[in-house]
Amino acid sequence: MCGAPFRDYNRGVVASKVSLFIPCFIDQLAPQVGVDVVRVLRRLGYEPDFPAQQTCCGQPAFNTGYWDEARPLAERFVRIFESAEAVVCPSGSCTTMVRNFYPELLAGTPLQEPAEQLGKRVFEFSEFLVKVAKKLDVGARFPHRVTFHDACHALRELRLKDGPRQLLRHVRGLELVEMPYVEECCGFGGGFAVKFDMISAAMGDSKAQNIEASGAEVVTSLDQSCLMHIEGMLRRSNARARTMHLASILAQEAE
């Protein structure tokens, strides 16, 4: 898993039919991100479906150590998406859960093998655009100065670094600027954000300062969870920058 060299998971996947995996917190707290994913995919000619039975991949329980609580959710997820050709998820973290952690969580169960297979067909949103759809220009226009925050799971578990930046460079009018310490964690970390809120806030405070130092109006990323935390830190310190998920930037129409 981590530490292993990046494997080209999408080799051989040519998807015409895609299924949406909208993480539970995006569903409940930031539905617009899901709407924007659909808009971008439709613009590229995909007609995504949304399996209505989906809920949560189980990561909150898994990361807290409650693997027995997470396992039935993982099994449920594998069954729901088993027949999907390709699954698109606007979260590096939830994609990591399915691709990297399901095989470990379901090891020794009948669903281990199906989970490993499914992991090869689940794509983080920007990864899908770059590697499967092979589109860097999705016809977006966003005339603002933007900085990209490397969300940890996307960066270190999925090894996504250049893809999202290439997508941003193809957005009309967008000026991409880098922030200092861009690969340093923002401090969200799931339950960590409330269990160790003082550490989380100190890390978020550094991130907010680095975003401000970049001069960007908007900070974007592949994980809405990081962005919610960053938004809270930016607003609290009366900083100028605002957060937007990558999908929401790419959904801005050119015409």
Partner: protein
Amino acid sequence: MSAAAREFLRRAAEKSGDLAHRQVVRFNMDQYEAAVARGHSRFTDWEAARERCRQIKWEAVNHLDRYLLEFETKVQERGGHVFWAETSEEARRYVCDLAVARGVKKVVKSKSMVTEEVHLTPALEKLGMEVFETDLGEYIVQLRNEPPYHIVTPAMHLNRGQIRDLFKEKLGGGATDDPPELVAVARRTLRQAFFSAEMGISGANFLVADAGMVAITTNEGNGRLCTSIPRIHVVMTGIEKVVPRLQDLAMLWPVLATSGTGQPITCYNTLLAGARRAGEVDGPEEFHVVLVDNGRSQLLADSEQRDVLHCIRCGACLNACPVYRAVGGHTYGTIYQGPIGSVLTPHLRGLSEFQHLSYASSLCGNCTDVCPVKIDLHHHLLHNRRNAIRAGTHPGPERRAMRLFRWTMMDAGRFRILGGVARASIRLAHALGLGGTALDPMRAWTRRRAPMVLPSTSFRSLWRKTDGFR
């Protein structure tokens, strides 16, 4: 919650709000990172070097029985003594008994985390002996009566002015904070100690099995003085430090130096084969090696986390860790700080007392990326969390909340309704102006962050109502 966890939370709250402290750490880490980047560029393939080091340590750790015995035999053939200490108590007692038997009054120590781990210095002091740390950083924290702040740079948290004041008070130093002058003040005291001590104690960076030699790496030359001037030399180290062959050092030495400080190679790399032999001009009369287990063989039995024994104590994971950067080394309350400490300490000192350290991480994974022997550090934090839940150390309310979470998520309809109810209640509370106050239902979140604006509807409801936004 364990006493250690309460103490961690208290110190973390204090340190993470201390901006001056964060700046000191940031300054040091910036310098370190620049040096390490230069260091990596000296390798034609840094990733290949990491992989080779992982293989060397893997081979050693997975054949520990063979290599340790080979090392022991070679040391004994040259008249050295090897003592196997199962616990820290046994390790302490061996050295204390030896010191008493030989009438030792003064001890000089080269930097060693294992001696910290077994609390050797206080034990010797209790017997009336004078113990000097001779690594400058260690000496500084010893004078301050503090534990090391960092496994490689023990006094990283202090600036020149603080060290000047300390030396003025304890060593009769002057008013200057010029580093060479400060070093000269410490050297005056330490040189006297080197020449009058009867016992020198060092750790080991590596134990070389095929040569039966102890490899010590320092930047100050103090290691050589500790191990060659006093008439007794004691090496105290963990059993995981053995490596199969002398030639393995050709890879491990530069990698350790690069990860530790960014240097191409550390200034002094010493190989010690034992006591002075006939015809040799220097070296101790007696040579003892104390091999400390202290929980390591239990880790060896844990096939999932055995690679923790690969650790060469370079400190790279501490430097890479955003939590370490926020809270600093003393907050951990452990001998080994940062990610390696959070993974290792529950194995050495008990999961129930130290499992909180596995949770005090955002799991960002930077530690795993920088580890030169490729220990799967952040995943082991996840494994420790799972082990803690299995051991049943967590409070009932959290368990019940997790069961409720599962029950909710096992049915999409249930999730939609309960999610909607929760959102509506929070929106109502926020509409009443409770957002961000003590009565905010999202208080755990908004204590440190501006309240978020919640949407009136969920994605799934929107999708259903609009038939996929058509």
